[in-house]
C-alpha cells in the first residue's frame, strides 16, 4: 500500500511561488518583446536601436543624408535623395523580420527579434 501524497498549506504556497516565478520568466523572456532596428550602410552596421526602449519619436540623419523616423515600436525612412522614393513609401516597420531599403544609398533597415505570435512568416508581394 503506497502512502497518498498530501499537500499542506505551506506546500500550496510554495507551489504558487515557484509557478509565479516561472511565469514571470516566461513573460520577460519569451513574449516576443525584443525588437531591434539594425541600420546598415554598404554592409556596415551604423545604428542599432532598441525600439521598445524608445519613448518619444525622433528623426535620425545618417552620414549619407538618409533620414529615418524612429518612434516607439517602429521605424521608417522619412527622407532620401533617391529618385524612386520606394524606401519612403515602405511605411513604418513594426514587426521582427520586416526590412526596408534605399538601394541607391545602400541603406538597409531590418527589424530583428522574435516575431509576434500570429504574424506572418513572410509577405508575398
Amino acid at each position: 500500500m503506497t502512502e497518498r501524497l498530501k499537500l499542506k498549506k505551506a506546500d500550496v504556497l510554495l507551489i504558487c511561488f515557484l509557478l509565479a516565478a516561472a511565469l514571470a520568466l516566461l513573460l520577460l523572456r519569451g513574449g516576443g518583446d525584443a525588437l531591434t532596428a539594425e541600420v546598415t550602410v554598404a554592409g556596415e552596421t551604423v545604428e542599432r536601436i532598441d525600439l521598445k526602449a524608445v519613448t518619444s519619436p525622433y528623426d535620425l540623419t545618417l552620414e549619407n543624408g538618409v533620414r529615418l523616423h524612429v518612434e516607439p515600436g517602429g521605424i521608417s525612412f522619412c527622407y532620401s535623395d533617391c529618385r524612386g522614393q520606394d524606401c519612403v513609401r515602405c511605411g513604418v516597420l513594426t514587426r521582427a523580420g520586416q526590412a526596408a531599403a534605399c538601394v541607391p544609398n545602400k541603406t538597409l533597415v531590418v527589424l530583428t527579434g522574435k516575431p509576434p505570435k500570429g504574424a506572418p512568416d513572410a509577405i508575398s508581394s
Partner: protein, 346 residues
C-alpha cells in the same frame, strides 16, 4: 525535506515546461537581411546562432552570385553583355535559367516573354525615369521579340537583331532556387523573402508556415489574406510569388501605368486583375507563372496552367473579388473584410 520532495514532484515538470517555452525551445532562429537584384532579401533560419549566422552569409552570397550573372544593370553581367553585344558566353547557371524561361515562354503561349527587353527598356520601369513611349517606338521594338530568335549553342548565346533579354519576371524566383540549393546542403528550416518572392524550406518547428498575401490596394506590408503552407518533408520547399499592378508604376497625363506588359501590344496588361499569387515547388516557375497569369487573366487556359505547373493560385480582381484555385482553398484565409471570395470568372 519531505515537503520539498512532495512539492518538487508536482511543480518541477510544470516549471520545466514553462522554462523551455520561455527560452524559445525548438523554434530558435536567426534572421537577417541583405540586398540583391535591387531588392531586399530577408532570411530567417531555424537553427543555433553559431550555425545560423554563417548560413545567412551563404544565402546572401548565393543571391549576389546569381545577381552578378543575370543583372540587367551591372554592365559586366552575362546578360548585360549579351544585351549590349548581341552574343556572349554564359555559365551553366545562366544557361539553365535561359533554357527553363524560354521553354516556359513557349508553353505559356507567349503570355510571358523574356525577349521583350527592347520594349521594357523603352518604358524604363527599372530606371529612375520611366516614361510613356510612343506607339511608333513600341511597334519598332516589338519586332525584335521572339524566343526562336535566341540561339543557345555550346555555352554561347546569340540574340536576334536588336533583341534584348529581360529576366525581371523570373530573376528573383531563380534566386530563390539558388538559395534552396544552399539550404539543401544543411537541411535547416528557413523562410526567405527575396523582393517579395517567398521560399519556404522544410517544416517550420511548431506548425505550418504562415505567408501573407499582399493587399494590392494597401501599403507594402499590408496583406489581405494568409496562406498556411507546409512542405511535405524536411527537404522539400514551396515558393510563393505575386505579380501586381501596384509595383513600379508612374503617372503621366493623369493615367497610371504599371510594369507588367502584354507581350502582344507592349502596353501594360489589363485583364481586370490587380494581382496574382502563385505557389509552386520551383521558384522560377512560381515567378514566371505569376506574370503570365496576370497577363492572360482568369480563364480556362489560365486554370489549365495552374493545374499543370502550380500547387495553386490566388487571383485578385481590381474590384476586390478573390478567386482561389482548388489546390490552395484549405490553406487560404481571408483576413480583410473589404475583399470577397468568388467562384466566378470570365
Amino acid at each position: 525535506m519531505e515537503r520539498l520532495k512532495r512539492v518538487g514532484l508536482i511543480v518541477l515538470p510544470l516549471c520545466l515546461a514553462l522554462l523551455v517555452s520561455a527560452c524559445g525551445g525548438a523554434d530558435r532562429s536567426v534572421s537577417g537581411a541583405s540586398f540583391a537584384m535591387g531588392s531586399v532579401l530577408t532570411a530567417r533560419v531555424y537553427t543555433q546562432k553559431t550555425e545560423g549566422t554563417p548560413l545567412l552569409g551563404e544565402i546572401y552570397a548565393a543571391a549576389a552570385a546569381l545577381d552578378g550573372k543575370i543583372s540587367a544593370t551591372d554592365p559586366s553581367s552575362e546578360i548585360a553583355v549579351l544585351n549590349a553585344e548581341g552574343r556572349g558566353a554564359c555559365g551553366e547557371d545562366t544557361l539553365e535559367i535561359l533554357r527553363s524561361s524560354l521553354s516556359l515562354c513557349d508553353a505559356l503561349n507567349g503570355r510571358l516573354d523574356i525577349t521583350l527587353g527592347a520594349v521594357t527598356s523603352l518604358w524604363g520601369f527599372a530606371s529612375d525615369t520611366p516614361r510613356l513611349p510612343s506607339a511608333e517606338e513600341i511597334s519598332a521594338a516589338l519586332v525584335t521579340k521572339g524566343t526562336r530568335k535566341v540561339r543557345l549553342e555550346n555555352g554561347a548565346v546569340t540574340l536576334g537583331e536588336g533583341q534584348k533579354l529581360d529576366l525581371g519576371a523570373v530573376g528573383k524566383g531563380a534566386g530563390c532556387d539558388a538559395i534552396r540549393t544552399v539550404l539543401d546542403g544543411v537541411g535547416v528550416p528557413a523562410v526567405i523573402s527575396f523582393g517579395g518572392t517567398v521560399l519556404l524550406y522544410g517544416q517550420k518547428p511548431g506548425g505550418a508556415w504562415n505567408v501573407g498575401v499582399r493587399d494590392p490596394f494597401g501599403g507594402q506590408e499590408d496583406y489581405f489574406a494568409t496562406l498556411s503552407l507546409q512542405p511535405e518533408t524536411a527537404s522539400d520547399a514551396l515558393f510563393i510569388s505575386t505579380s501586381g499592378s501596384y509595383e513600379k508604376t508612374f503617372t503621366e497625363n493623369g493615367k497610371t501605368y504599371h510594369h507588367i506588359l502584354n507581350p502582344d501590344t507592349g502596353m501594360p496588361a489589363d485583364t481586370g486583375l490587380a494581382a496574382v499569387t502563385c505557389v509552386a515547388e520551383n521558384g522560377l516557375t512560381a515567378d514566371a507563372l505569376s506574370t503570365a497569369l496576370f497577363v492572360n487573366g482568369l480563364n480556362e487556359t489560365s486554370l489549365g496552367w495552374v493545374g499543370q505547373y502550380l500547387v495553386g493560385a490566388v487571383f485578385v480582381f481590381a474590384d476586390g473579388r478573390v478567386y482561389v484555385t482548388d489546390g490552395l482553398r484549405t490553406a487560404f484565409t481571408l483576413t480583410n473584410d473589404a475583399f470577397t471570395l468568388t467562384d466566378a470568372y470570365d
